[in-house]
Amino acid sequence: MPDPGDGPEEVPGGSPTGPSLDLTPSPSRPERARRRPVAVVAVVAVLVAVVAVLLRTLGDASLFFYEVSEAVERRTELADARFRVVGTPQPGLVELDVDGEPAVVFTLCAGHVLADVAHVGDPAELFQPGVPVVLQGVWVAGPVPGLADLDGSSDDGWHLRTDHMVVKHDNDYRGEGAELEPCGTGVAGE
C-alpha cells in the first residue's frame, strides 16, 4: 500500500508506448480515494477501546468511593456489597492474623465519624496513620478483631473487612508548613 508521503517513487501505470497512455497523476490524487484496511481496523479498535473505558468507568458504581460518614450512614443499604471508602487511619495500628491471614487493624476516620477496619493482606508501602487511604471491602457485623488493643475505636458492633488499599496522597509539598485535615475527635459513627 503506497504512502502518500512516498509519492515521488510512485509512477502512474500503463505502457510507455501504448496508445492509451494515462497522464493522470494518480495515485496521489485519486478521484475515488482508496481505503486502507489496516488503518480502518485501527480506528475501529480505538473506538471500541474508548467505549470500553467509558463503560468501565461509568458502569461500575463500586469504583466511586464513600466518605466514612457516608459508609456508616448507608450501612444497611450497602449490606454485603463491596464498596470503597476513604478516610484517615488513626494512630495505633494492630497487626494480627484474621481468619488465618496476616492483617492490620485500625480505626478509620473522616471528620468526626469513625469506623473500625480489619485490612487483610499487605498494606500499601506508604500506609501509616494520618495519611488518607481508600479501602475496598464489605461491612461485617461484630466487633473488629483485636478491639481491646485499639485506641479510640468506634466500637459500634460493626467493622470493615477490606482487602484492597490505595493511598490518597495530598497535594501539599511545603515541607514543615504542610497542613493536615483535622481528624478523629473520638466521636463514633452511629
Binding site: P4, G5, G7, P8, E9, E10, P12, P16, T17, L21, L23, P25, P27, S28, R29, P30, A33, R34, R35, R36, V38, A39, V40, A42, V43, V46, L47, V50, V53, L54, R56, T57, D60, S62, L63, F64, F65, V86, P91, A124, E125, L126, Q128, P129, G130, V131, V134, M165, V166, V167, K168, H169, D170, N171, D172, Y173, R174, G175, E176, G177
Partner: protein, 283 residues
C-alpha cells in the same frame, strides 16, 4: 543523499536550521539542568506528622513529578495547538494548517502516552497501584490519548489528503473537548478521585521545589517546541515530496508521450514510403 545544491550535503539535507540547532542545544542543556535540580538539589518529600510525629510524604518518588506534571501541561498545549490548527484546516483549507495540526497531534500523543506511563510508575509506590480504573483523572486522560490515537489512525484510512485533513480536523475538535474534563476532574469529582487536587493552583508548593517544577515546564516547553518544529518540517517535506513526485511523473509522462508520438509518426511515414519496418527512424 539526494539532490543537494549546497556546499555541504549533510547540513542542507535536513529539517534543521541554525535557529533550530540553537534551540536543540538549549533544550539539551535545560534537560541536564532539570536532572540536576530534580535529583541533586531538591529534597525528597518528607514531612513530620503533627499528630503521630512520624515521617510521611512521597519521599524520593516526588522526583517523578518534575517530569510528569510538565509533560501533562505540554500535552494540553500541543492538543490546543492541534485544535486551533484544525479550525484553520476547516476555514482556510490550506496545507499549512493541516501539517501544523498533524504535527501537534502526533507530538501531543507522544507526550500524553508518557504522562500515562510516568503517572503509572509514580502511582505504584505512592498510591500502591499501577492503575485505578475508578479514577476520573486517569480515565479522562486515557480517553484523550485514545481519541488522538484515533485521530492519527484516521489520517491513514484514505489516500485523499483533503478528506484526510477535514475528517481529522473534526475529530481533533471533538477530542480536545476532553481537556477541560481532564484538567478539572480533580476539582469536580473531589472525593471521587484518587488523584490529588491541583498543587500550583492552591499554592501548596514553594522554594526550590516550586522552582524545579517551573523549570520542568520550561524544559518540557523547549522539548515540545523542538519536536513540533521538526515534525512540522517533516510533514511539510512529505507534502512537497508528494507534489514534487506528481509533477515529476507528469513531466515524465509528457516526455514519454512525445517519444511515442515521434516513433509512431516515423513508423507511419516509413510505411507510407513502402520501406520495411527496420529502417532507422528519421532516415
Amino acid at each position: 543523499m539526494g539532490t543537494t545544491t549546497g556546499t555541504a550535503a549533510g547540513t542542507r539535507d535536513t529539517t534543521g536550521s541554525p535557529r533550530s540547532r540553537l534551540l536543540g542545544v538549549v533544550t539539551l542543556l535545560a534537560v541536564a539542568v532539570l536532572g540536576v535540580l530534580a535529583f541533586v538539589l531538591t529534597d525528597p518529600d518528607v514531612r513530620i506528622h503533627p499528630t503521630t510525629g512520624e515521617e510521611f510524604g512521597q519521599f524520593d518518588a516526588v522526583r517523578m513529578l518534575y517530569v510528569h506534571v510538565p509533560l501533562a501541561v505540554m500535552t494540553y498545549l500541543a492538543y490546543g495547538i492541534c485544535a486551533v490548527a484544525s479550525v484553520g484546516v476547516l476555514v482556510k483549507r490550506t496545507p499549512w494548517w493541516d501539517v501544523t495540526a498533524h504535527a501537534a497531534a502526533e507530538v501531543g500523543t507522544v507526550f500524553c502516552g508518557l504522562v500515562l506511563v510516568t503517572g503509572s510508575i509514580w502511582g505504584r509506590p505512592v498510591w500502591n497501584t499501577w492503575w485505578e480504573w475508578g479514577d476520573v483523572r486517569l480515565m479522562t486522560t486515557l480517553v484523550l490519548f485514545l481519541m488522538f490515537t484515533g485521530y492519527l489512525a484516521l489520517r491513514r484510512t484514505t489516500d485523499d489528503p483533503r478528506r484526510q485533513a477535514r475528517r481529522a480536523a473534526v475529530v481533533a475538535l471533538v477530542a480536545v473537548l476532553d481537556i477541560p474534563l481532564v484538567n478539572r476532574s480533580v476539582e469536580w469529582w473531589e472525593n471521587r478521585t484518587l488523584h490529588q487536587r491541583s498543587t500550583i493552583g492552591e499554592l501548596k508548593i514553594e522554594d526550590l521545589t516550586l522552582f524545579t517544577l517551573f523549570f520542568g515546564f520550561v524544559t518540557a516547553g523547549l522539548v515540545l517546541a523542538w519536536l513540533l518544529l521538526h515534525r512540522f518540517r517533516v510533514g511539510w517535506l512529505e507534502q512537497a515530496a508528494l507534489d514534487h513526485g506528481v509533477a515529476a511523473a507528469i513531466a515524465e509522462r509528457h516526455a514519454e508521450t512525445d517519444d511515442a508520438e515521434v516513433l509512431r509518426s516515423v513508423g507511419e511515414r516509413a510505411a507510407g514510403e513502402g520501406t520495411s519496418g527496420d529502417g532507422e527512424p528519421g532516415s
